[in-house]
């Protein structure tokens, strides 16, 4: 994003800045972000955007928090793929909440032909160990399941046109995605090594893009910058930065400058309020001051956002922007966000 037009309303198609989003070859979209940035919401909206026009998209959650059920306002998801939403033009979004234990038993059956060992493993605590205590093993199982979904065939083509993952937060994302690489180093030979190599092959290919959701605040932006460096160091393909909850640019550059130097002109404001019938507000000096404070706060916030946006530009990564919705997020809002993502070149 250039810094030439702070404060003015950027046309929607200029949001991407210098780097255009083009993920037409990507089938696996991994969505990460710091806690509180709206990662799950963005993953859900991205799945709708990708399904638009009749495609079939799998939306996967790996943290077992039933965040997708909450976003789509449905009962908790049982294990397995279930249709959770439609998309414009006949598309379908299916949701999968991966449970590490089920993934582990599947994994054992698939790769080791162990069918009835689950109960014994559970009894001695091995399942517990693999799924809750050893984070590396857990991540191997979760990313393994994701890799399997991406590769799954139906007839001659792939079962899923795209897979979207609501992934762990930015601080953990590189470690999460490279768990299989670590497993393959530790295992050296054998079936774990083979499976791990296969999964890393998918994650490091141009079929994959990792998107980071952020707010234009210091900590989330810092984590995003660090996260991009982590991804690059681990040869993981960066997708875009989704900048969420940006403030609307309601004031022009000149108006912002006035607010910064002199504060808003409250006398003029009072006149304007009178002219549209808000006499009681116009005659209340505390109310006028209050509106002035709200405007000054807004300018401070927009200035901070502009500074933080600068730290994100110059990485040759598309920036997608989603404005703050004062009314909050509901299912209808997901479709609106999906449309905004499409306008910015996501699908």
């Amino acid at each position: 994003m250039s810094d030439t037009a702070p404060g003015s309303t950027p046309p929607p198609d200029a949001h991407g800045g210098a780097t255009e989003a083009d993920w037409s070859s990507v089938r696996l979209h991994i969505v990460s972000g710091k806690g509180g940035t709206g990662k799950t919401t963005m993953a859900a909206a991205l799945a709708i955007a990708l399904a638009t026009g009749g495609r079939k998209v799998l939306l996967v959650e790996v943290e077992g928090r039933q965040g997708l059920a909450q976003v789509f306002n449905t009962p908790p998801l049982e294990y397995g793929e279930h249709r959770i939403a439609g998309a414009p033009g006949g598309g379908n979004v299916f949701a999968l909440s991966v449970e590490p234990e089920a993934a582990m038993l599947e994994y054992l059956e698939l790769f080791y032909n162990i069918k009835r060992g689950g109960a014994a493993l559970r009894r001695v605590g091995a399942v517990d160990f693999a799924t809750t205590i050893a984070p590396g093993l857990r991540d191997v199982l979760l990313t393994g399941k994701v890799g399997e979904s991406v590769r799954r065939k139906e007839g001659r083509g792939f079962l899923w046109d795209a897979v979207v993952v609501d992934a762990p937060p930015t601080g953990r994302i590189a470690r999460f995605l490279t768990a299989n690489s670590e497993a393959s180093d530790l295992a050296r030979v054998g079936p774990i090594k083979n499976q791990a190599t296969l999964v890393m092959g998918v994650l490091r290919s141009e079929q994959t893009a990792v998107h980071l959701v952020t707010l234009l605040e210091e900590m989330p932006v810092q984590e995003t910058v660090d996260g991009m460096a982590d991804l690059a160091a681990n040869q993981l393909p960066m997708g875009g930065i989704i900048v969420n909850m940006t403030r609307p640019h309601l004031l022009s550059d000149t108006q912002m400058a006035t607010v910064r130097t002199d504060g808003p002109d409250l006398d003029k404001l009072a006149d304007d309020l009178r002219s549209v019938g808000l006499e009681s507000t116009a005659d209340n000096s505390a109310a006028l001051d209050g509106l002035g404070v709200e405007a000054s706060d807004h300018v401070t916030r927009v200035d901070m956002e502009r500074d933080e946006r600068k730290r994100l530009s110059g990485h040759d990564v598309p920036l997608l922007e989603i404005p703050q919705l004062p009314e909050g997020i509901d299912v209808a809002a997901l479709y609106g966000i999906a449309e905004l993502l499409r306008e910015q070149g996501v699908a």
């Binding site: 806690g35 509180g36 943290e63 909450q70 054992l108 001695v124 160990f129 404001l269 709200e294 909050g328």
Partner: protein, 421 residues
């Protein structure tokens, strides 16, 4: 418990409530509960408060709140140490924390009235804490062997669980060091940034029960005998497991895991005891849990889980802090009125974008957005309180800018303290 009793909260346009689409349902429901007010100054100045834990899901502002309360307590005359997990760089620098060194350092320029109080701060270095644990407890000949083991390296740096355990371990150490009140008389703890606030309570026990569990005994059996040897001792089920382990992991990997687990087992003879001791510390009277939440559905849902859990475990819950609450500065102007007025102003002269009426219209729209955010947040807070009417609640308004110096921290803590007045 009427709306009028909530006058201490200027954050919500009371007159606006009920004008929204909820009006009709609202009249058929019992009136919403009003939460008791959280008196934070009472909590931090009470010498009986020895440990203050700031918990909550990721991204709600735990670190800033913990640092702000630690500073305020110091300036009220307490000798405070604050354990932060992952502070923003500029905030860390402002507290004199330039590197992770795992040792509390005095924050310059902080004293209370009569020069009584002090503030020390540290950032948790998870790997260093774990290494120190090994160095302190392992047999001298084994220390290097453990530190070099690939599984140790993987476990000690991976974030899930270990960070929570190490935070607890560090808290236990600090509590021990401050037992005589010589060093510190209040420990403020920021908890790791997990998705779920419950992880902080659960991870140490999970790790402890694993290390005490049967699985460890299988893993720590010599690699070659992993199938048969263990089977002979524990029965056929274990033989099956041992066989599967060999098949899945391969004998070489089993060997490395077993070396690691055996070494670890020797360190943590009382591993579970340690975890249990710290857990017990959390149930003591001098401990105060503050749950921090943003006024958003996810954060409040996590906060509700956490509050239920604290109550079930009989842990001392002090209150809920709603952080980054949108404040409305003009209570008598509804969102609808503001939007209508803005549209009328736009219609008066739509040609000159710099005209004063454009500016006024923009200000009205900003106000309308604030009112809508505030109404939504207030509704969410009310829902929380209806389910948890006994939990005292405090509020910190959203600041326009990030907090990155001591003055910013003072302001944050001051706003929370003012909320109860």
């Amino acid at each position: 418990m009427t709306d009028e009793s909530r006058t201490s909260s200027p954050t919500v346009g009371r007159r606006l409530r009920g004008a929204g689409p909820d009006e009709q349902t609202r009249t058929h429901l019992p009136r919403p509960h009003t939460a008791p007010l959280l008196d934070i100054d009472q909590v931090i100045s009470d010498p009986g408060t020895r440990i203050l834990l700031c918990c909550g899901s990721g991204g709600v502002g735990k670190t800033t709140t913990a640092a702000a309360l630690a500073l305020r307590a110091a300036e009220h005359g307490r000798k405070v140490v604050v354990l932060t997990i992952d502070p923003a760089r500029r905030l860390a620098q402002s507290m004199g924390l330039v590197e992770l060194d795992n040792t509390p350092r005095p924050v310059p320029g902080v004293t209370g009235p009569d020069g009584e109080g002090s503030l020390d701060a540290m950032m948790l270095d998870m790997k260093r804490t774990f290494d120190e644990l090994v160095e302190r407890h392992a047999e001298p000949g084994r220390v290097q062997q453990i530190l070099d083991n690939p599984f140790y390296q993987s476990l000690s740096t991976s974030l899930a669980g270990t960070q929570e355990y190490m935070a607890m371990e560090k808290l236990g150490q600090l509590a021990q060091e401050s037992q005589d009140g010589e060093n510190w008389d209040l420990i403020v703890v920021d908890t790791p940034p997990s998705r779920s606030a419950l992880d902080f309570l659960d991870a140490p026990n999970r790790l402890g029960s694993f290390l005490d569990g049967r699985f460890v005994k299988i893993l720590s059996a010599p690699a070659r005998g992993a199938g048969r040897g263990v089977g002979r001792i524990f029965g056929a089920g274990f033989s099956l497991v041992g066989g599967m382990m060999n098949k899945i992991l391969g004998t070489q990997m089993i060997g490395e895991v077993s070396t690691f687990v055996t070494a670890l087992d020797s360190i943590f003879g009382g591993f579970r005891n340690r975890a249990e001791q710290t857990y017990a510390l959390l149930q003591e009277e001098g401990t105060a849990f503050l749950v921090i939440a943003a006024p958003e559905p996810d954060a409040l849902r996590e906060a509700a889980y956490f509050v239920d859990r604290l109550q079930a475990e009989r842990m001392p819950l002090t209150g809920l802090v709603l952080n980054r609450v949108t404040r409305v500065n003009v209570e008598d102007l509804s969102a609808e009125q503001a939007v209508v007025a803005a549209e009328r102003l736009d219609a008066t002269d739509s040609d000159d974008p710099e005209s004063s009426s454009r500016m006024s219209a923009a200000m009205l729209r900003l106000h309308a957005d604030r009112v809508r955010s505030s109404q939504r947040q207030h509704h969410l807070a009310e829902r929380f309180t209806s389910a948890h009417p006994q939990v005292p609640m405090g509020e910190i308004p959203a600041l326009a800018d990030d907090v990155h110096d001591l003055d910013g921290l003072r302001k944050v803590a001051g706003m929370l303290a003012d909320h109860s007045r």
